[in-house]
Every structure is written in C-alpha cells, then in structure tokens.
Symmetry: C2
Subunit: 372 residues, 2 copies
C-alpha cells in the first residue's frame, strides 16, 4: 500500500537531473534514509533501480573476481546473492540453514574465522521466510578477518530498526516499496566509510557495471554534482514524501507500531492453535509466516480472502511451498484496525477450509492491545 | 515536459509485480513501443532502469569479453558506450568524427569490413550534438561480417521514426522521458530475433549482470512470467499512458508535427543569420543545435530566457562547450505556438547580448507554417 501523500507528490513537475532543487531533494532523501538505516554514513543514496538492483550494486562493487565471498544462506534472496557472486567470478562459499532458521553467534563467528572471506553477505530480513538475522556477530567476526559485510534489508527498512552503525554493517540496500510505503523503483543504499575506502583505495579490478558504479555515483550525488545518469525525478519525489510521512510519525513510534501489531497478530495465530514458522526472537516486525495447518489448503485460504475481501496474502515458495502463509502488515496497514480485520477474515477463511481454531484469534489479539 | 494525463496515471493503485493486470500493462507497453521503434520484435520491454541502464543492458548482454566492439564515435554518448565496452573487457575500436558530423555510407561500410567486429554500436540520436546517424549501411555491412548492431535511440524514440526492422538494427534502447513524454526511470528496449538467438545459443561467457540479464527478463515478461525483480509498477503506468497519448495522436501525425516545427525553428534561426551546427539532412527532429554567434555569450542568452520566461535551453559541452545551444522542442512542446514563442524570446535574448539579427526569426518561421 502506498501512502496517499506519496501519490500526490508524484504529480509535482519534473525538474532537470542537475537542478539545484533536485539536489535539495536528494540531500533530504539522504538524511531520511540515514535515520531509517541508523547510520551517519556520508554515502547514502537511492539507486535508480529496484531492490534487486541494489543487491547487484552491492555485489558488483564490493565482491571482486577471485575473492572469497561468504554467504549466510537461509532463504530465497541468499540464493540470488549467490548467483550474483558467481557472475562476479567470486569464490562463493555458502553457510546453510533451513529456510526460516538463523545462526547462533558461535556458528556465525566460527564460519567466518574458518573461511576468512573477503566479503560476507547475509539477509537481515528474508522476505521468503519472515526471518530476521542479527548481524552483530557476523560484522564483528568479519572485521576481525578484514572482510566487508553486506546486509540485505529489503523488507525491513522503515518498519523496524536496522542499526547499521551499531551493528557494524558496511553495505546495506533496500527498496522503496514495503517498509517505505512508496512505489517500487528505487533502492535505498548506504556504504560505510570503511567500505568506501576499500572501494577507492584497495579494490584492484575494474567494476564491470558503469550504471551501478558507486564511485561514479558519489561524484553525481556528492560534492561534484557531476552528471552520471538522468535520475528518475518522480520516484525521488515519491521517496522524499514517503520519508516525510515517516518523519512526521517519528521513527521510533513507527517501529513500535509495527512491533505491537506484529505481536498482536502472532498472539491471534497462536490462540487459534497455529504455529509461527520462525522462532520467537527472530521474527520480522512486518512480515509474518504462520505455518499452514495440516490438511488445510493454503491456496483455498488465500483465494477466500482475495475473492471475498480483496485481501492478498502470499504463500510460501521454494523450501516452504505449501508450508507457510506470508502475511505483510506494513506502512499504512500496520494498524490495530487492519490487524484485527485481517485476523478475523483469516480465521474465517481457515474455517471455510475445515480448520477448527482452538480459540478466537481476534480476542487474543485484542487482549494484547489492551495489555499494551 | 510530462503529459498531464501521464501524471494522472501515476496515481493509480499499485498491483503486484506478478499480477495479471500488470502483464496486461506490459503487453500494451510492448505493442506501443514496437510501433515507436518500428519493429515486430518479440522481445520488447521497458527495462527497470534509466536510458543509461538501457545502454548498459545492451553492452553487457551483447558485447563479450575479448570480442571486438566497434563504436562509431561522434559525441558524448559514444564515449559512454566506449567506457562500458571496456568494462566488459572488449577490444574497443573507435571510428571517430568531430562532434555533430556523421559518416558517409562508404566510410561506415569500409570501417566495418576492415575491422570485422563482433558488435557494432552507433548513436542514432546524439543528445550532445543534435546529430542523426542513419544506420542502414552500418547494419548491412555489420551483418555481412556477422556482427550485431546496437543503436542508441535515447532522444529520438517517440519524436521521429527509428525504423528498427527496415534499418536492420539488432538492439535498441531509449528512455521514458524526452520523446516519450513521461518521467525518467524506464528504458524502452528491443532486441531482434537474430540477436536473441545469438544470446541464447552463441554467447560463450557468463553475463556479469543479473539485474539486466535479457534472458532472465524474457522469462519474466515473456510466456513463463517467472519472478525476476519487482518492476516499478507506477513507472509502467506512466509509460503505458504516454504510449496511449502517442497512439491517440497517431504516430505518423506525431512525427510530422515534430518535423514541421523543427523545420520552422531552423528557418527562424537561419533567417536571423545564424547557422545550425549539424548539416541539413542529419538533424534530429526534436533537439536543435544552433551555433552560438561570434562574440555572443551563450550563458547570457540562456540566463535571459530562464530569468525572464522560465524557459530552459541548454549549452553545448565537451567539444561543443560554448559553441552551440541545445534546444529541445518535443512532446507537448512541439507546437507552432511554443515554437514561435521560443523563437521570439530567443531572438530577444540574443539581441540583449548584442546580436543583430538579419531578419525576424518569427516571420521566417510563420512563412514555413503558412507554406506547409
């Protein structure tokens, strides 16, 4: 769902991509994104590409041919990172977990100290599983062996804290939809001074992409304002407005809102006698993955919600095909009203497929709101 | 300038990137783009990137490491093609002309038969010079030696004929702004069956970019509808509407409109005693480059227009810095009214800088409209 104010912002007249007003917008976007990422980085931009373009920017700039690229792999987007790493001719090593599980600090640390990679990547917020992977140990161990760390924050940014600086991440990217509440099309992207230094001083090989070259982009968006490409001005207006919406609510208030509604939603699910796929403490704040109860058709439930209420929830895919629902409650939808509505209709849809809930989802969620 | 209808289209609610409605939109976009390109190509999409991203898509997919990449170089964007070719580790050969000049058929043919490249690139419409390069001989000669031909159509698409099929182009890209009248952010992109066959069957090395990989995109936009990236839905709505605007006017009528106004504009320029930088027969239909008269400050003229009328015309850069004005009249601005307004104020601005016109620009242009 896109914020209504964001739609309005897209009707603003286009200015030139070297217009001083445009650079005011990019400066404000940088400030807003830095707040969301939790960083004071100098290089923070919106890439003129979607979230996957942000992933490619990270890998193409920070993974060299022949270097060792260690990927913490526990979902679909880790596989995409793997594919991109191979295309950069890196020596890709994967540390595997079943989809939806994550690593203990000891496991993460041990893998990094053993492999001594040049670059490490993990998916902080896995859209395919609903699992959050905390990066603190990964970053600490990576820095011990001199590696840079890439964190995929596509689903999380704007809905829950990333804490880029505190965690020690070096490169992070996201998208303009999902947690940011804007149309897709841009990829928020931030780079630590340490990673920028490596790129400028230590990288040996030529970066194959010109379009996504961070050094060139730092000359465009940075002090020099040197023409690189014609930025998608309208998309920047949208993101600028989306960040204003976030600032008006307050970042902490927004995070708390998502956290509360997630908790109420989970209470509702568990009250019905269903289980969450991801263990407590590792769940995203805006994308929930209840397990499909035994004998229940997930397609039937989804069709019921879509046909009767126009509500779209997603199914699992890959390792989780048929095993989980993927339910997003983010941005304008992360409210008590929408959470209760969704739980009510979800319960109804499950019942229509033959599921017998142990207790009322809505009542359990209401109790959580009341206690809060 | 963006068409008002296009702004409205961007307020339409976002649907999922695998929604059947979205694929109806992409199908209509394909049909509209094919008409503009003048092709019956099966693979025609809007890339989720700007015009420069389209250029990178062309080079990354169709120029292999170690292959010979021949570039017809007569302006700024040829240099960008060169840079991208080098980043793909191709053996880049440049056939040079001064900025704003183009090749005779004999010169083009001789260069290709001599060099026997694997891929050839030329800029059909050079934004930096206003020069049109006809691709017929280039394509014929390239096909004689088994090479593929890339044509940069960034400024031309939607304002003048490309004639992709008739010319024999293999790969062409453009942008969503300029001739298309939409905000920047997408890159119309089309590939001949011959080039697609080469990509699928003959290319030996791995394509370094995943985000811009044509084979993966053909599985997303083509029959399989296999998830690749989250397409920027709103930008697709805009392009879809921009193409409807073009279809409503009629492509031929639109081309003729640009052609007539370009001719009237040139008549006005020449009546004042000024010269066009590009020779007759090689001028774009929507971007004109009059030479800056001796002793006149181009910055002064541009500032006069901006300060008094909010009219933005551009200066030359690179080889043409201080030597030409770059004046765009395209889309909603390519009208008799706007052409006459611009000529009147341009003459006024030139006079304010000390230029003495031989005759009235507006009267000369009016005579052209009358004769038409």
């Amino acid at each position: 769902m896109v914020e209504p104010r964001v739609y309005d912002a897209m009707s603003k007249p286009i200015v030139g991509h070297l217009d001083p007003f445009f650079f005011e917008v990019t400066q404000a976007v940088k400030t807003g994104l830095n707040a969301c990422f939790g960083t004071a980085n100098e290089f923070t931009v919106a890439m003129s590409a979607t979230g996957s373009g942000g992933m490619e920017t990270a890998v193409a700039n920070f993974v060299e041919p022949g270097s060792k690229f260690l990927i913490f792999a526990n979902g679909y987007f880790c596989d995409r990172l793997t594919e991109m790493g191979k295309r950069q001719q890196a020596n890709v090593i994967r540390i595997e977990k079943p989809w939806g599980e994550t690593w203990t600090p000891e496991e993460a640390r041990e893998a990094i100290l053993r492999e001594k990679p040049n670059t490490v990547a993990y998916v902080a917020a896995e859209t395919s599983t609903g699992c959050w992977t905390d990066g603190k140990t990964i970053c600490d161990a990576a820095h011990e062996v001199g590696a840079l760390v890439i964190a995929d924050c596509v689903t999380a940014l704007g809905s829950m804290p990333i804490e880029f600086d505190k965690t020690g991440i070096d490169i992070a990217y996201s998208c303009s939809q999902k947690g940011m509440g804007c149309p897709p099309g841009l990829s928020p992207f931030t780079v630590s001074p340490r990673a920028l230094k490596w790129l400028t001083e230590d990288r040996k090989s030529v970066i194959p992409t010109w379009y996504l070259d961070i050094k060139l982009l730092s000359e465009y968006f940075g002090g020099a304002k040197r023409y690189h490409h014609t930025a998608p001005i309208t998309a920047f207006y949208a993101l600028h407005e989306g960040l204003s919406v976030i600032a008006d609510e307050g970042l902490e208030a927004r995070f708390t809102r998502h956290w509360k509604n997630r908790n109420a939603f989970v209470a509702g699910i568990e009250a019905m006698g269903m289980e969450m796929h991801v263990a407590k403490g590792h769940r995203l704040w805006n994308l929930m993955t209840p397990k499909v109860p035994a004998g229940i058709s997930d397609m039937g439930v989804r069709k019921h919600l879509m046909d009767n209420y126009g509500v779209e929830i997603l199914g699992g895919f890959g390792e989780l095909a048929g095993k989980v629902f993927r339910i997003g409650l983010m941005g304008v939808l992360a409210t008590e009203k929408d959470t209760l509505f969704l739980l009510e209709k979800f319960e109804e849809a499950l019942k229509a497929q033959g599921f017998v809930p142990k207790a009322s989802a809505v009542e359990a969620a209401k109790a959580v709101y009341k206690a809060a």
